[in-house]
């Protein structure tokens, strides 16, 4: 099966800055992928490249088996909600439903009405007067009305309160469960997405740090807690992601290449947040990556 998204060496440079460097990722169909990274990591750039709103400076990108571009057949398969949730502020939700009907060949306006009515969002109110959360719901419902095969959402839950956040993600999960839909949604907070997503793309400092199935990634990593001793052997056998040291103790995040047999260390499973923070810390202090040190006791 063709993956929904496949990029190789994808790079985007703006005049002075490189927003995305050598990005190679694969997102299989039917997944909900969390695009995680600190602010300025390149999340928006990646989403815009995938949605055909920006052109790559280098590398290759295939979305649903084709190149993202301004072509009605491609655009019909893509749903995109930008970070600032741009809608025509003076138009009502009902107007937007009509806009969608005019600008798309495939369009399910009824689903939008049902969805918004169930959320008690008025269809005849100008969207500029709705709350940020309501606007996000309107934008998602409108995007889903295209019946897209790939949904690209840039920080969709940032504007939502915790309850609306849960509703929004539940709605998304429902849409994916119905089949034929892949989702990539970005956030700078892991906790937002942990419940919903089954795939992870971790960006930091414009580079991909991790990409893959979340369960697999978690199984590949381990936290080792032990005395502050020499760890050359561990570093030789495994990949050290992050080491946090105090005078007496050190905590290591490693990517395993087989079982850890050093009895001095206690091994524990890693949580998604821990994993993400470990890699982000590594990216923040890249040289030398394995010597990342946190703590005041030298």
């Amino acid at each position: 099966m063709t993956p929904a998204i496949e990029t190789r060496g994808l790079t985007k440079r703006y005049r002075k800055v490189t927003a995305l460097t050598d990005c190679t990722i694969t997102v299989p169909e039917g997944r909900i992928s969390a695009l995680i990274g600190p602010n300025g990591a390149g999340k928006t750039t990646l989403l815009r490249l995938l949605g055909g709103l920006a052109r790559p400076s280098g590398g290759e990108v295939a979305v649903l088996g084709g190149t993202p571009r301004q072509n009605p057949a491609f655009l019909a398969e893509i749903g995109f909600v930008a970070q600032e949730i741009p809608l025509y502020r003076r138009l009502t939700a009902e107007d937007h439903i009509a806009v969608g009907a005019h600008l798309n060949r495939r369009w399910d306006g009824t689903s939008v009405r049902q969805r918004l009515e169930s959320l008690n969002i008025r269809l005849d109110q100008k969207v500029g007067t709705l709350s940020g959360g309501q606007r996000a719901q309107v934008a998602l419902a409108l995007t889903l009305a295209k019946r897209p095969r790939l949904l690209l959402l840039d920080e969709p839950v940032a504007a939502l309160d915790p309850l609306a956040r849960r509703q929004f993600l539940a709605h998304l999960a429902e849409a994916v469960a119905a089949g034929g839909l892949t989702v990539v949604l970005s956030s700078h907070l892991v906790a937002d997405l942990e419940r919903t997503c089954d795939h992870l793309i971790l960006l930091a400092a414009s580079r991909v740090q991790l990409c893959g199935d979340i369960d697999t990634l978690l199984a590949q990593h381990q936290v080792l807690v032990g005395p502050a001793k020499d760890i050359t052997a561990i570093e030789r056998d495994h990949t050290l992601v992050q080491a946090v040291r105090t005078a007496r103790q050190q905590t290591l995040l490693i990517r395993r290449n087989g079982p850890v047999i050093d009895p001095a260390f206690e091994a524990a499973d890693v949580g998604l947040e821990e994993l993400v923070l470990g890699y982000m810390g590594q990216a923040a202090q890249p040289v030398p990556a394995h010597l990342t040190t946190v703590g005041e006791d030298q």
Binding site: R48, G51, G52, L53, A54, R55, Q70, N71, P72, L75, A76, I78, G79, F80, A82, E84, P86, L87, Y88, R89, R90, L91, D95, A98, V99, G100, H102, L103, N104, R105, R106, A139, K146
Partner: protein, 330 residues
């Protein structure tokens, strides 16, 4: 897409239609009064055989309304500022271009339909205002014969359509380049005003080679007829050279002839006894007077040329807009 354009801009369209309707009512009522005033003046001057001096005696309409009509010179600029400037800039600014460009239509289609309707509306609205002004001005045109005068030429006929198309194209392209509405509006005002002034003042009189009449002293004087455009006039020198004071500030001039060019003997006559001036000049070898002008029959040629220039500029700006919008990232 047309539906979206209508939905987004219908309030502006209603406003423009209402403003046009009010203006039309004013113009039609007063225009009819002026036409009948002019007709009765013509009838009475025909009786007293004084029609040749009618223009100096008759004032048509009221100064206030004439001022209002003259103000329509800013209509194209307003269209450029309020219709052209925000057309794409507002969408970039609010991000709605990203919404529009991820529906199932191309950017090219989005841009074509938006610009197409904006240009069509500007041409229609600018054309309607101009048609009203042209009709309203017809008695004054016939009376004063100053159709070529800046302020008349610029608000009548087809040039306002060219200006309106250019202004909107200018606003759209500025918006596409700057991606900000207010700066795009400001640029539109500045560039439009500058180009209009430069073209009107420096270029327009050169569209076609002017005609020169030379009236030798002692011969029957021939003068241009109708609403001609006087370019320059003056004296034909001893060697047949044309002596004139084409610009202000170059000293005293009588009928365009700089006093400094006259023989010193004749100079006082220009002020004291103009009738003796000609024999005096002739006796010093000057040959006659000349008049250089654009004939009245070229009015529509000039209208066409100026409209063409602005339409071509508009086309170039639209091309720039298309390149910028289609090539650049959203």
């Amino acid at each position: 897409m047309t539906w979206l354009v209508w939905r987004l801009y219908r309030n502006q369209a209603y406003l423009a239609a209402a403003a046009l309707a009010v203006f039309a009512v004013l113009v039609v009522i007063t225009g009819r009064q002026m036409a009948s005033q002019y007709q009765s003046a013509l009838a009475s001057c025909a009786v007293s055989h004084s029609c040749s001096t009618l223009a100096s005696r008759l004032t048509l309409g009221t100064p206030l309304l004439s001022f209002l009509v003259t103000l329509t010179v800013v209509v194209p600029c307003l269209l450029g500022v309020f219709w052209g400037g925000p057309l794409v800039a507002r969408e970039f600014e609010t991000g709605t271009s990203q919404f529009a460009w991820t529906q199932s239509i191309t950017r090219g289609r989005w841009l074509t339909v938006k610009i197409g309707w904006a240009l069509l509306a500007a041409a229609a609205w600018g054309g309607a205002v101009s048609a009203l002004v042209t009709w309203w001005s017809s008695p004054a045109n016939a009376l004063n014969q100053q159709n070529f005068q800046a302020g008349q030429f610029d608000i009548q006929g087809i040039v306002p359509i060219g200006y309106a198309l250019f202004a909107v194209a200018l606003g759209v392209s500025a918006g596409a380049l700057l991606r900000r509405t207010v700066p795009a509006m400001a640029i539109t005002i500045v560039v439009f005003t500058f180009l209009r002034l430069v073209i009107g003042q420096d270029l327009r009189s050169h569209y076609l080679t002017a005609v020169t009449i030379i009236n030798r002293f002692g011969h029957h004087m021939r003068t241009p007829t109708g609403s001609y455009w006087l370019v320059s006039q003056g004296l034909v020198g001893r060697a047949g050279q044309l002596l004139s004071a084409p610009t202000l500030g170059s000293g005293l001039a009588v009928n365009g002839v700089p006093v400094s060019e006259m023989p010193s003997v004749c100079r006082p006559l220009a002020f004291q006894n103009p009738i003796k001036l000609i024999p005096c000049l002739a006796s010093h070898g000057y040959r006659g007077f000349f008049t250089t002008y654009q004939p009245a029959s070229r009015y529509w040629a000039f209208q066409g040329i100026e409209t063409g220039i602005f339409v071509l500029l508009a086309v170039a700006l639209i091309a720039v807009t298309a390149v910028v919008v289609l090539r650049r990232d959203a």
